[in-house]
Symmetry: C2
Amino acid sequence: MPVSVLQKKIDAIARNARTASRLLADVPQAKVNACLLAMASLLDEQKTGILRANRKDVALAVKKNLPGPMIERLTLSDKTFESMKRGLVEVAALSAPAGERFDERTRPNGLKIFKMRVPIGVIAIIYESRPNVTVDAASLCLKSGNGVILRGGSEAFFTNKALAAQFSVACENSGLPRAAIQLVPTTERKAIDLLLHKDEDIDLVIPRGGEGLIRAVVEKSRIPVIKHYKGVCHVFVSRNADMAKAVAIAVNAKVQRPSVCNAMETLLLDAALPDDSKKRIIEALILDGVRIFGDPAARKLVKGIERASEADWFAEYLDLRLAVRVVDGVNAAIAHINTYGSRHTDAIVTESKDEADMFLRLVDSSSVMHNASTRFSDGGEYGMGAEIGISTDKLHARGPMGLADLTTYKWIVEGNGQIRQ
Amino acid sequence: MPVSVLQKKIDAIARNARTASRLLADVPQAKVNACLLAMASLLDEQKTGILRANRKDVALAVKKNLPGPMIERLTLSDKTFESMKRGLVEVAALSAPAGERFDERTRPNGLKIFKMRVPIGVIAIIYESRPNVTVDAASLCLKSGNGVILRGGSEAFFTNKALAAQFSVACENSGLPRAAIQLVPTTERKAIDLLLHKDEDIDLVIPRGGEGLIRAVVEKSRIPVIKHYKGVCHVFVSRNADMAKAVAIAVNAKVQRPSVCNAMETLLLDAALPDDSKKRIIEALILDGVRIFGDPAARKLVKGIERASEADWFAEYLDLRLAVRVVDGVNAAIAHINTYGSRHTDAIVTESKDEADMFLRLVDSSSVMHNASTRFSDGGEYGMGAEIGISTDKLHARGPMGLADLTTYKWIVEGNGQIRQ
């Protein structure tokens, strides 16, 4: 497509999203919920057509020799359909964040001033190969009153198109503007660049995918981006730890689901722990199939520990590998985490309240935990109902992001004729 | 300076700021307040040296034939010194936002989870010719626990350097890290580009200045930016307005201080208002020296109104000029504001609660007002104590930004050995 034609298309998408978002601001929640439930029904009714589109993507992916795990993520199964439907029903049942009043005050001149929670406006989601993001992300944006522009991976293009088309139908049938959900109708990469320059009409970009995608979006975007970078999560076991808790937490944080961002990647052991205690933890991990990369002190404890290089302290393995370092107390642990960590989730195991307080105060991460597994860093586990991701940014939203994080506020000022002196 | 040398300097500044910000996280408020008061004393004690530096800047500016208003903004007077000192004392007296707990919950598994307000980390302030920003912005960043990197206008270089040097002394004498406040020690423009790429060590950029400066920063920054764009503020006078309030508010919003971002730039008059009422407002404005640019309907009302072009609806005049348009009711007013406005501050004058509610709900601006002058859109007037600016962004902070807006939060999770099933 010539750039001028593409530019016109992107301009129209952004402008239509802005218009739709203004209409959404005046739509009652009942209609939004009806739309989400209508989409759940359409997933059943239109399953054949959606699966046909999906088979087209999968066949192309096989032809292109894309890697097996990517084809797996791309393929829609009955389980994916059930999960998308369940998500829609659950999001419909949540209470909507928009409309809440907070920070109320009355000024000496009689002005009543408060903040009102309102949708952000238009949110662009840029994502990779999982087509269920089309439905999951769009439902959260809609529920919180935002227009959404979707740009999925090119390898899932036909599937995403089929899903987004049904969501537009659900919008229309429920009295919502059709353009509340739009998919960028091309796989050209240039479309992303153009989209990221529409700062007049798009308020927020959320990239969902690997570090390469996120960095590319940050590099090019004039629109604020909320980033979900990697999780290099730590567990520090202090000299004051209860060892039963320490073993259970370390094993759980590493082994229960090693492929996710809140799994432990580095274990820090207090030098003052008895060697037997240190060994006990490491051996429990090895018994569960974990391959250990240790510093010299750790390697002296247990045979067969491989040598950790500087790169291991930065590594997000996402599998059953683990870096282990012996550090000199809580201050050294905090320094290690603030140097090598990714500001995602870090935990201390200790029975000392003072030590825990120091760790919680000084570790600069989105979630800091005392005597709990890093695996709890999750919107569902925090009781948020639904999660659009885990922000490693510090601005606007930090850590697990729920519906309320897809809203902003405006100041409302109620007077009776006040003027400024 | 060769780019490689400059790069090293900027790297060091950013890294030192990060280190200082980590130390600041553990400094008691009493020391921060002592530092702010010490700086107030240093402004007295070192006044001669600071004025000498300022005269150097002013002499260079005169030599370069810089415009008169710029030289005026650049020149330190006794009044500027008093205002900087008063600011420091006032900020020291405010309560610090960091440390507050909120959104507490206890989960069924016994985990206690809450958010704790914490400093953002490192904030870069990029500003133009007013050297008092060096002191005002730095004091707010410090009070909220943040390290600050200052990059002022090149025409104020020697003044900013003298002020920042004293602030570093105040830090050191009060037990704060010296690098809590740093000034970029060169006027080269390239330094800004390099700074805006230090996203590992700088968490937030706040540009303070004209639209050109802000756009240039947004274009280049990999770091989140909070923008303070222009204010194209509206007052809509409805058919249901109390005319005494309408006249008072319109005159106050335009005339009381026309050079600021919360002054009215466009007046919208409901077509259904009696012509006499419309005339009464326009004539009151003309009597106060306002030059009116009107649409055809407005021009029929009063002689001598100039013709408004499309550009006038977008204009931020910042002086005694005003655009006036007759619109067909509240819906047309909302549509006009959402099309031509800058999402800053907009007001409705009406005695109808329903009409006011619709306006407050549907106008997409940072502050929306009912029966009050737009001039109230201000941190001080909102009771925030101190203001770092008025954000026209929707993310993180919107409208007047106070100390709390220079903080973020982290999630604290307190357990007793919980692991995830």
